[in-house]
Structure formats: structure tokens, C-alpha cells
Symmetry: none
Subunit: 214 residues, 4 copies
């Protein structure tokens, strides 16, 4: 606002700042309006640069969208790495992982919405991104190690499947965000207050832990 021109200058010759600024704006708008619904003009306008710059750095709408998607996934990985599941007994580690997953999705609704949008488009863009596969496979691998640890320690029963478990955990955590609007519309806001969310988190943890434990 203050001295728009000066701010412009600041961007100039600072490609990464410009790119990040565009990416953040685009993330919000794609998450809000979907791929087709998003307008390149809107994105550009909410950016601190020009429409031309969006194309300069991201080529076209589709590339921009893919980059947004990749950046969102990269952020999850970063967060997951900080969890340090290896430092806890398997049971506790799993509880932490479920809690983290629940919270992460809750705190990053844009990320969840992007995946949802991607699914509506048959995950066509995911297909072309190596980065994204990598992120996710590493998450499964971590869970596999965790399960193995739990089984060997006698904490977990021996039939747990990492992918299925991941699916089960993710399903509720994702749904919690993706269908919040329709749920709230139909049944009121009770489940989405802080209290309600705590109850749901405990519900998920309890139902999953009982399934996993020996």
C-alpha cells in the first residue's frame, strides 16, 4: 500500500520472492474455485506482480496449478519429517501420527481442497508429477516401519497393512475438511467447534487404535 512503486522495485530482480508470491496467491485461489473456476486474472490481480509475470514463471494455467499442487505436497513432507515417530514406542507413535494427520489437514484446508479438486479431475495432474509420488511413498514407508516395530514389540497384532491403515487414517482426516461445508449445512456446526473437533479426533484415534492393537 505504501509506496507501491518501491515495493515493485523490491520484487524486481528477486525472482524467488515473485514466484513465491504468485504461488501463494494461486494456491488460495485454486483451492477456493477449483481449476476451471479459478481465473488467471484473479490470481494475477491478487499478486504483487503482473499477469505477464505469472506466465513468465509458470508458462500456463495448468503448469501453475501443478506447481501449486507440488508445493503443497512438499510442505506436508517437511512437516512430517519433524514428527520424529521413531523416538516413541509404536503405540504412542501411532497416536501421535493420527493426531498429527488430523491436525495437519485441519490447519491446511487449502491443501486438502487442492487434492479434492485434483480428484475431481481424476488426478490427471498428479500422474505427471514425480515429486508428489515420492512424498507419498515415503509416508507409507514410515508407517510400514512403525507397524513392524509395533508388531515386533507385541503392541500391535500382526495383520496390520500399512496402506490400508494409511487409507483409514486419511479418510476421516480428509473428510473432516472436505465435507465440512455440507455437513455443517445439514447438521449444524457442533462438530466443527474446537470441542467438536477434539471429540472427533479422539473418536478416530480410539477406533483406529482398537483395530491395530494386539
Amino acid at each position: 500500500m505504501v509506496a507501491d512503486n518501491i515495493r515493485r522495485r523490491k520484487w524486481q530482480q528477486n525472482p524467488d520472492a515473485v514466484k513465491n508470491n504468485i504461488l501463494e496467491t494461486a494456491t488460495a485461489i485454486f483451492a477456493k474455485d477449483g481449476f476451471s473456476g479459478a481465473r488467471m486474472d484473479d490470481i494475477a490481480r491478487q499478486t504483487e506482480t503482473s499477469k505477464r509475470m505469472v506466465y513468465y514463471y509458470f508458462t500456463d494455467k495448468k503448469q501453475l496449478y501443478i506447481t501449486v499442487l507440488e508445493a503443497a505436497y512438499a510442505k506436508v513432507r517437511a512437516a512430517e519429517n519433524e514428527l520424529n515417530l521413531e523416538g516413541y514406542p509404536a503405540g504412542e507413535a501411532l497416536i501421535r501420527l493420527i493426531g498429527f494427520t488430523f491436525d495437519y489437514h485441519r490447519n491446511h484446508p487449502d491443501f486438502v481442497r487442492l487434492i479434492q479438486i485434483e480428484n475431481i479431475h481424476q488426478a490427471r495432474h498428479l500422474a505427471t508429477s514425480d515429486i508428489i509420488s515420492a512424498v507419498n511413498l515415503s509416508a507409507i514407508a514410515a508407517l510400514e516401519r512403525l507397524i513392524k516395530r509395533g508388531s515386533e514389540a507385541g503392541e500391535f497384532h500382526s495383520n496390520n497393512d500399512a496402506l490400508e491403515l494409511h487409507w483409514l487414517i486419511t479418510s476421516s482426516c480428509v473428510f473432516n475438511i472436505t465435507n465440512r461445508a455440507s455437513f455443517q449445512q445439514l447438521y449444524g456446526a457442533n462438530l466443527f467447534t474446537d470441542d467438536g473437533q477434539d471429540r472427533l479426533k479422539k473418536l478416530i484415534i480410539s477406533s483406529i487404535m482398537q483395530t491395530v492393537l494386539a
Copy 2:
């Protein structure tokens, strides 16, 4: 050409058939491409009538979309009524309900996708539809009765909340459809074969039943 004309004439006598035809086509296309992604031209072309008729009967894109949504919800209600949960002991009834919910979503992916799309648009259109609220509230009421029965019979513990339970059941069943594309893309198709789906269904049932049972 002649055959074509005859078919055309058939429509002319039968407005409801025309409307249904348009509605079915629109359902498929909205489910496939989302609201913004769907093209009125595509819908009209895949219809057995003309574009003008689509507007004649449904006014504009938004109205058409809302009608599609309402029609989808109406179909669920019809299906649920056939379940007759009252005829079984509470535990068995709940297992049947979860199984039904899983299967129903699986068999009606377009319905699920429409709700997803609706959520991406903040359930704005749902808000305007009375039909839809009604359908859902009756589902919760049925579940409440079931839980009460289970508690009274000593089968279920006494702290189960119908809405939370509905949320938990629905979450996995919906996610199973909505995020199938991205899951498959990232982790392969194993979970989505008939076998894989059976395993997931059992997983949900088991995790939920252990949470509910006394």
C-alpha cells in the same frame, strides 16, 4: 434421419422423458468435470434434445446443477428406506448399515462426486435446497433410534453419539470414492479391486464396531 425424427417426435409428446434425459446427462457431466468445468454445450450435445431445451426446462447452468444435486439426494432416500434396520438386533443392524453405506457410495460415484463438488463450492447450493436437508436429517434420526436400541439392549456402550458415528461411517465411505483417483495414482490399484474393497469394508466395520460395542 427418419428414425431420428420419430425419436424426436416421441420426446415432443413426453416432456418428463426429455427432462430426465437432460438430468441424467447433466449428472454425469457435472460429476465428471465439476461445476465450472462442465460445459453446457457438452451437456446439450450428449442429450437427445437440443441446447435450447436445456435452457427451456432448467433456466440456466446453476439451476440445472441444483436440480441435478436434488435429484441425486432424492435417490439416496429411496434406497435407504429399503434397508429396514428395525428388523435386526442393533449390532447386526449397524453392521448392515455400515456395509450398505459403503456399498451405496461405491455404487453411486456420481452422487458422491456431486457432493464433493458442492463442498468445493462451500455447499452454497445445498443451502438453498430444502429437499436435501430433509433427506439427511431422517438418516440421523434412524441412526439415533438404532443406537438407543443398542444401548438399551446392552449391546452398545452408552456414550455413542449418532451424529459423530454418522460422521465416522460416512467419512471412510465417501473418501473411498472421492479420493480414489489420487490414491490409485500414488499407491496403485490394489485397494480398489473387488478384493481390496472387501478388505476396506471389513476394516471400517471392525474399527467402528469395536468403538461402539459395550
Copy 3:
């Protein structure tokens, strides 16, 4: 100019007139500016309809260009059919053919320019048009029959090749138009007055006839 609205109405519901109007305008502009140089906006503006109509009937710039090209070729065929070479002794028929070719190109500079443009683009669009091949092969066939007649009558020597002859005739007639601008620029306008053109026509006829005659 007079009652623009009324004229608009006249177009309405008269697709062929609209299409022809667009095609003529587009022919002139593509001939003048080349494919890349031509502006869809210019074409639309010089049309008696709107830009939207151009796309409605011709899909995109490329399709419009191809249609223009095909229409131009179709016109040549129509003209050639009126020549009735069969009605003259071979020698005279050939002289008429050369003269016609010279005059036709001279009178249809847009046609020639279109072919030139097409050549600059490596005749890529010609490749996709069946219509155009057909037109041209029939021209060669006619020349072949003419040569055969001339040989059998002893008028022509027996080694004439239709395709080579066609090439030789066409080369000068085409060049006369395509390189007129640069020639005139460099050597003045003398060759392109009516007199000059008559001299050139005679020169071509004489040089070719001497080559063909026995």
C-alpha cells in the same frame, strides 16, 4: 451503411451468405498478410458479421485458412472446366492453356499469394486437404491427354512429360505474380503494364511451344 441493423437481420438465418462473406474477407486478408500476419480481428471487422461468427463457422484461424485455400482451389477447377481444350487441335489447345494459365494467375493474385504463403509454411495445410489434391491431379490428367493427342497427330514430339510441362508453364505464370513486387521495385514497372504483360505472355508461349512442337 444504410440501416446497418436491417442488413444484419438479412444475414441472420442465412448461413451461406454469412459464410461466404467471411470467406471472401478472409481470403483477401490472408493473401495480404500471410497466415501469421493476418489478424482474426481484422478479418472479423471487415466482415459484415461479428468475430464470434467467424469462430462459429470456422472453428479457428487454421481451419479458416484451410477453408480459404480450398475455396481458392475450387475456383480454379471451375474455370478450367470452361476451357474445353478438347475442342481444339493440340497445338492450339496448348497455346490456349498457357494463355489461360497466365491470365488466370494474373487475374487472381490472391489465389497465387495464398499458394505462396502455403509454400512458406511448407505446404503443411495442403497436406491435410483431399479436395485440393483432387483438383490438381485432374489438371495433370487433362494435360496428359492433350500431349497424347498432340503426339499422335504428329504435332508434338514424343518425349513431352505432362508434369514437367505443367511445372514449366506454371513456374512463369506464378512467378509473374509472386515476384512482381520485388521485380518492380528493382527494375521498374515496364514488365507489368498491359503491354509488358502481353510481351511476357507471348514470350512464355513461344518458348514453351518451341520446346513441345515436333
Copy 4:
């Protein structure tokens, strides 16, 4: 990277090399895509320098194009000087000139294509170039001397006009290149094999010599 820097430095010491490099690249691209079709970005990218240098040395697209055109013409002049027609009897000299013209155009398709492009743009840029006129007038002068020699020697008849003859020779030689793409597309590649080209060259020589000789 290191090697790249070294190469860059080499240019820095050698402006003419940079200019030539740009000019050659630009020649090829203008010849391939026409004026409007050529992209400054493409030219710059295929260059061994940067886009900025293109503008630094050649101001803008139009100037670059004109310079390309002039450079192409300059090269023809150099070639023609090596012909030394004066050393042969007029008839033989003319045959050599036709052959040379045919071959030269065939060996310099880019040059021919540039002129073609120039003609499509009404030779507007040629108009502004003194260099180019000079080149061409000297060609006519040489032919004039040749004809005069032939007439005086009784080899040629006395009505030959240098400009018309130049036009006749050039027409086929130019057309051979400019319309090769469309010809090949429509009638196959036979005329453009080495054999085919020899036959065409002989055809031109024969048809022209018969016209010129006494």
C-alpha cells in the same frame, strides 16, 4: 558451465562474430517462418548470445529482417562475380548463366524464400535498401552485354530483351524452390530428386535457348 563461460567471453571480444551468428540464425528462421511467423525469442534462443544482444545490434525485428535480406543479396553478388561469362561465346555463356541461376537458387533456398517472404509483404522492405538495387541492376547489365555480344556474333536473334530474358530465366529457377513444397505435396517428389532436377534444368535451358537463338 565453465566451457560456456569461455565461449561467452570469446564473443565479448568479437562483436562481428556475434553479429554474424545472429544474422545466420535469423536468416534461417525468417526463411522458415516468414516475417510475422518468426519469433524473436526463437531467434535469440538459437543464437549463441542473448536476446538483449539481438536488440543491441539490430534495434528491432524489422531492422534485423532487413539486414538479413541485405546480407543474402550481398552473397549473390559475390557468387555472380565468379561466373566470368565474358570468357565464353555468347551461346555457351548463356547456357552457363541459366545453369548457374538454376543451381544457385537450388543451393540457396533460404535466400529464395526470403525474397518470397519479401514479396508477400509487397517488397516494402526492399524499397528501403540501396544495397539490394545495386546488386540486381548489375546482373541485368551483365545479361545485356551478353545479349549484345550474341546478336553481334549472329548467334542470337536481334529482338531479345535483357530484362524479359532475365525474368524468364529467373521465373523457373525461383519457382523451382518457392513452390517445391506445394508441388511435391500435390504431385509427388519425382521432380525434386537429383535426376528430376537435372531434367528440369535441361528443360529450362532448352526452352530458353530455342527462344534466343537466331
